[in-house]
């Protein structure tokens, strides 16, 4: 319980919007998009923490902040291994077509992190590349091929091999299977799970797909408009979702076992992040909202089953916990 690999506290990333001359002349202040706004969570060593949410909720921005590809405008990302030589972060992105250089043979691409970080003497690089290719289910001979010679799933395997080449202790996966067909997605998810168990990796996993999240995660955070609305151990989240938004997401998910189910009416759309609603950002769509929800921003509160929920209605006991199975 105490072995925390990553601590994110009150993290913020506000993107300033271009200030127009007219607005400046009228004395209005510049607008900003609060892509990530006061997010905090911990990840235990060797575990996978997942972030789920709909487009524009800030999950990818958060991934970039954790990977150090972007600088927060407030708050902290603290790795407990920071400063140690063993501390390395690697990323796997959604589109394996875009993240591999088409002019590099994949062996060269995989060797790049090894050479750049001088992890191995030159003579040991090629054998290591071959070992990595085999580890992700490809053949050593594939090192001489170019990315276009592979299918989408194989290219994602190459991306994974390249991420592993840097001997990472921490892996950030941003929608790694969203561009893949379902049978190939299953191969990649199985591979990621197996590699995590073998290598003891700590993972931050981003997806919009709740079923994928269920398959890979120990803990899940649900994001809505830049904030975490619920954080819970995976089983708790799927069996007893508490935040009305989490409940809505799960209810809206088309499932194989609920043929012909009458959809509960789901109201409204995600508001513009430029003009987020006051109080709890979910209140215009929430069936349990009252005056307090419209004015007061809820913060994450601990629940007895280990989950944390940011909702006045839950805190006041206004919502019965619905059970999903």
């Amino acid at each position: 319980m105490t072995d925390i690999a990553l601590q994110v506290s009150d993290l913020q990333r506000h993107f300033p919007m271009g200030q127009s001359l007219l607005r400046a002349a009228l004395g209005r202040t510049a607008q900003s998009v609060r892509a990530v706004d006061g997010v905090g969570f911990n990840i235990q060593r060797g575990q996978t923490f997942s972030l789920v949410g709909e487009s524009g909720c800030g999950k990818s921005t958060l991934a970039r902040l954790v990977a150090g590809l972007d600088t927060p405008t407030g708050g902290q990302v603290r790795f407990s291994d920071a400063g140690k030589t063993s501390h390395r972060i690697q990323m796997i992105f959604q589109d394996p077509y875009a993240s591999l250089n088409p002019r590099y043979r994949v062996g060269t691409a995989i060797a790049e992190p090894i050479r750049f970080q001088k992890l191995l003497p030159e003579a040991a690089v090629l054998p290591r590349v071959h070992e990595l290719l085999r580890q992700v289910g490809l053949a050593a001979a594939d090192a001489a091929k170019f990315p276009h010679e592979f299918s989408g799933g194989q290219r994602q395997r190459v991306s994974i091999a390249r991420a592993l080449a840097g001997n990472p202790t921490f892996l950030v996966c941003d929608e790694p299977t969203s561009a893949l067909d379902v049978s190939v997605q299953a191969q990649i998810l199985n591979l990621l799970r197996q590699l995590q168990a073998e290598l003891g990796l700590t993972c931050l996993f981003i997806s919009h797909n709740l079923a994928v999240i269920n398959y890979v995660s120990h803990d899940v955070g649900v994001m809505y408009l830049g904030r975490l609305v619920e954080v819970a151990p995976t089983r708790v989240l799927f069996e007893a979702p508490k935040h009305p938004y989490t409940q809505m997401l799960l209810a809206a998910l088309p499932r194989l076992d609920t043929r012909g189910r009458e959809q509960p009416p789901i109201m409204g759309e995600i508001p513009s992040p430029l003009a987020p609603p006051s109080g709890c950002a979910f209140h215009p769509r929430c069936p349990h909202a009252n005056a307090r929800c419209q004015s007061e921003l809820p913060t994450l509160q601990d629940a007895p089953d280990g989950s944390r929920i940011a909702c006045h209605a839950v805190a006041e006991g206004r919502i019965p916990v619905s059970l999903f199975t």
Binding site: R193, L256, T258
Partner: protein
């Protein structure tokens, strides 16, 4: 059954001639859709599910062409019609909804005008009557305050609202059939649920038939009455949704169902179909699935199986046929 069918597709074969030879994109595809029925088409990228929809709409991109087979809409054969005749059928008898609503809408026209144009193309109405119908359509697809949005442009709508407008366009002449190609793939899950609900209630209330193309088995499970599973340009299994999901027969369908992660507690690795679907220029002989099939026999490698009907379900698999005959 065949006499009641609204749409009959028989032995459809679509070829794409290229410099390196003719690619077989659809091979011996046969199915029917009854009025008011939703038939789902599911499969992986390149399996031919979108191409089936495009062939029915008469919108195959050249050089792709229908090489043989027949498509019947009611009593009329439509695959041999000229582009001009087909244009009158599209919009009037067959509506279309595609993945990206922005591609289906003219960015320079107010959406009220786009609806009126489509309505007057197909129905003998005055401008005022068409405008009234456009407003009623916008209301029926769930656009709040349609009078106020009538003069808005597509970019002023959200993705979900745009897709509702495209559905209103598809419905403007009360078509008998809607071809919906990945209609909710670009939408978030809560908006997807709204749009699926809209399409489903439309079919139920107006008796409109729908061909729903998607890669998402969950969408099929919640929306369709029957499902056709496609692999490498052929239908490998077709039957009632509940049967195919609960008891898939074809080895590919079985693998596909096992590969879909669910919300249930994780008990072990997902079922895996090793390898990937062959590209069109590298189709193996015999059954196209045999290199990935755990049960493949010599017959599978030599001969392509046809769809066999048993217990209301059609399956194209030699191994399944042999086991049925033995039983």
């Amino acid at each position: 059954m065949t006499s009641q069918a609204l749409l009959r597709v028989q032995h459809l074969r679509v070829e794409i001639p290229t410099r390196r030879g003719v690619l077989l994109a659809l091979d011996d595809v046969s199915f029917t859709i009854a009025p008011g029925e939703i038939l789902g088409f599911v499969g992986e990228s390149g399996a031919g599910k979108s191409l089936t929809g495009m062939a029915i709409l008469g919108l195959l991109d050249p050089p792709g062409r229908v090489a043989s087979g027949e498509i019947w809409l009611g009593e009329r054969r439509i695959d041999t019609l000229s582009q001009r005749e087909m244009r009158l059928i599209r919009g009037k008898q067959i509506g279309a909804v595609f993945q990206d609503p922005l591609m289906s809408l003219n960015p320079l026209l107010q959406i009220g005008d786009q609806l009126i144009e489509s309505i007057r193309t197909h129905l003998p109405l005055t401008h005022e009557q068409a405008a009234a119908r456009a407003l009623a359509l916008m209301r029926s697809v769930g656009i709040p305050a349609p009078e106020a949005r009538f003069t808005a442009y597509p970019h002023q709508f959200s993705g979900g609202m745009r897709q509702r407008i495209v559905i209103a366009l598809a419905l403007c002449a009360q078509p008998e059939l809607i071809v919906a190609d990945e209609p909710t793939t670009a939408l978030d899950v809560s908006i997807q649920a709204q749009v699926l609900h809209l399409l489903k209630s439309q079919c139920r209330e107006q008796g409109t038939a729908m061909l729903l193309v998607t890669h998402d088995m969950g969408v099929i499970a919640e929306t369709a009455d029957r499902v056709a599973v496609m692999y490498a340009g052929r239908i490998v299994e077709i039957g009632p949704v509940a049967d195919v999901i609960k008891a898939p027969v074809h080895p590919y369908t079985r693998g596909l169902m096992g590969a879909i992660p669910s919300l249930a507690p994780v008990t072990g690795p997902l079922a895996q179909i090793d390898g990937a679907m062959p590209r069109l220029n590298a189709r193996p002989d015999g059954c196209a699935f045999h290199p990935r099939c755990p049960a493949a026999t010599a017959q599978c490698r030599a001969q392509s199986p046809g769809l066999e009907t048993r217990h209301g379900r059609q399956v194209a698999c030699w191994v399944h046929q042999a086991s049925q005959e033995a039983a």
